[in-house]
């Protein structure tokens, strides 16, 4: 993302809006600028700020006059008054930043929007996590810290070493040069993204080992890691994972419950 200095009036609204604090006012030119190395191309500024398309010269003149009177204009905080954002055409590997950061575009590898994976949300029709298994979603960079793929690789290689199986239909797995070792394509290791989710599946017995491995590796990283543990319930809607988590000292009280109301309907719709 770039900001057009001819349009920017340095109102400062976009500074607070950027999830990774990549925008600042450059005192030399008195315009907002984007730190390209820190920008994750999430498009929160361009897509989610309202726009007024005002004339920059007029806005600067009004602001300058108010400044003389020591009056500070109190604008709507979610507005770019002059529509100064100038999205650029992203080339590989920078294009990965947007794929992993802007939830409004689909991942090429999976065709899925958001973070590019269906996880347990459709487990009732995909059986992605089967009985006796545990699915892990290990997410890097969220909330609002961001991550580089070299940090993700530290985790994927550690998980590969303990025999975890990576979910094939996942954008991070698609970036792996060698899924057996968890090694990620070296070309992308320094790219920064808002978040990336690694998904692995293991037998339930491996749950404590995976949790400890994730904890150990997380402690060495300069980003935040959020972990989700998915499990299939029995015929009564119960599961034994909660007890294992409690034994590991993990307090799990919130999550996502798949109600099991989905079924394969494409065929019956086609027949009808």
């Amino acid at each position: 993302m770039r900001i057009d200095p001819r349009k920017c009036v340095a109102c400062g609204n976009c500074l607070a809006v950027c999830p990774v604090s990549a925008i600042s006012i450059d005192p030399a030119i008195r315009r907002a600028t984007v730190d390209r190395d820190e920008c994750v191309e999430c498009y929160a500024c361009e897509n989610r700020m309202s726009k007024e398309h005002l004339n920059p010269t007029l806005v600067r003149a009004v602001r300058g006059f108010l400044k003389l009177l020591r009056i500070r204009f109190d604008p709507e905080p979610d507005v770019c008054p002059t529509s100064a954002f100038a999205p650029e055409e992203l080339q590989w590997p920078r294009s990965l930043r947007r794929a992993f950061s802007d939830p409004c575009i689909p991942h090429e590898s999976t065709g899925v929007y958001g973070r590019g994976t269906e996880e347990v949300k459709t487990n009732d029709v995909t059986n992605r996590v089967g009985s006796g298994e545990v699915g892990f979603t290990v997410e890097f960079g969220r909330p609002a810290v961001g991550t580089r793929f070299r940090e993700v690789q530290a985790m994927t290689m550690a998980l590969a070493r303990i025999g975890a199986v990576f979910e094939k239909n996942n954008p991070v797995t698609a970036l792996m040069a060698d899924p057996a070792s968890g090694a990620i394509n070296p070309e992308v290791l320094e790219e920064k993204v808002l978040s990336a989710i690694v998904e692995v599946r293991t037998p339930q017995a491996m749950l404590p080992l995976v949790l400890r491995t994730v904890k150990e590796v997380s402690a060495t990283l300069d980003t935040v890691v959020s972990v989700g543990v998915a499990v299939r319930c029995d015929g009564e809607g119960e599961n034994s994972v909660e007890a294992v988590l409690a034994a590991e000292g993990v307090r799990a009280f919130r999550g996502k419950t798949n109600l099991g109301l989905g079924r394969l309907t494409n065929l019956e719709t086609a027949r009808a």
Binding site: A16, C18, P19, S21, C42, N47, R48, S50, L54, E76, P77, D78, P81, P103, C104, G111, V112, Y113, G114, R115, T117, E118, V120, T122, V125, T126, V129, T137, R142, P143, A144, V145, L194, K215, S218, L221, T223, V224, V225, S226, V227, G228, V229, A230, C233, G237, V241, A252, F253, R254, G255, K256, T257, N258, L259, L261, G262, R263, T265, N266
Partner: protein
């Protein structure tokens, strides 16, 4: 929506936060899904959700491409009606209804079960409460994904009130700096909690930002209004 998984807060702070969403799976049940998605939201409206949304489009608060500058003095806290959201659904994307009581969510689940749309329905919220509600609605849960919270470089995370607000968009589109700014504006009496919640909600492209919980957090001691 892993987007709904890792909200930050104590169990008590999620008593008014239940997100029910429905989605298809590519190659399995996405054909003719649009009327079902619309019916899901129409059914939800009977149970007074705090907001409804469609993924990628947002909820009843949305940014404007052509905002009139005069609007600064009379900007509504709702940009669209729920009916307009439903009418605009033309694509197969996740839809969601957010409830602020377990009772309303349970009553909705009873109707969802009876409707039998055949798409996957999930509830993001307190797992114990959700399990109990689902049972009473005659639904046996299929799978659960538990949030185990954050680890790693926790010193890089913002302070608690900011984190509670900003993690309501799990895609991190609600920036912590903006949440902090809203807390300040409410504290200084320059914006109402309702206005601040609307500003924040406009950044959540999936529309699952819960305005009721946000207003409560903005009004709380230690939050925006001290």
């Amino acid at each position: 929506m892993t987007n709904t998984l890792h909200r930050y807060g104590s169990p008590e702070s999620f008593q008014d936060d239940f997100i029910v969403f429905m989605r298809s799976s590519k190659g399995r049940n996405e054909i003719e899904s649009v009327p079902k998605l619309k019916a899901f939201l129409q059914t939800a409206l009977r149970h007074r959700p705090v907001t409804i949304s469609q993924y990628r489009r947002g909820s009843t608060v949305r940014p404007s491409e052509n905002l009139n500058p005069i609007v600064h003095w009379r900007r509504p806290v709702q940009d669209l009606t729920p009916e307009q959201i439903i009418e605009a659904i033309t694509e197969d994307h996740t839809v969601a209804a957010i409830f602020d009581t377990a009772e309303a969510m349970e009553a909705f689940l009873c109707e969802v079960k009876a409707a039998d749309w055949g798409l996957s329905v999930n509830v993001a919220g307190l797992t114990g409460e959700t399990h109990a509600c689902a049972k009473r609605a005659g639904i046996c849960r299929h799978s659960v994904e538990y949030s185990l919270g954050f680890q790693g470089a926790l010193d890089r995370l913002p302070e608690r009130p900011v984190l509670e607000l900003s993690t309501m968009c799990g895609h991190s589109m609600v920036s912590p700096n903006l949440a902090r700014k809203m807390l300040d504006l409410v504290r200084e009496g320059r914006r109402t909690p309702e206005q601040a919640a609307a500003y924040l909600g406009r950044f959540c492209s999936c529309g699952i930002f819960n305005p009721t919980r946000a207003i409560r957090l903005l009004e709380a001691p230690g939050g925006g209004r001290r």
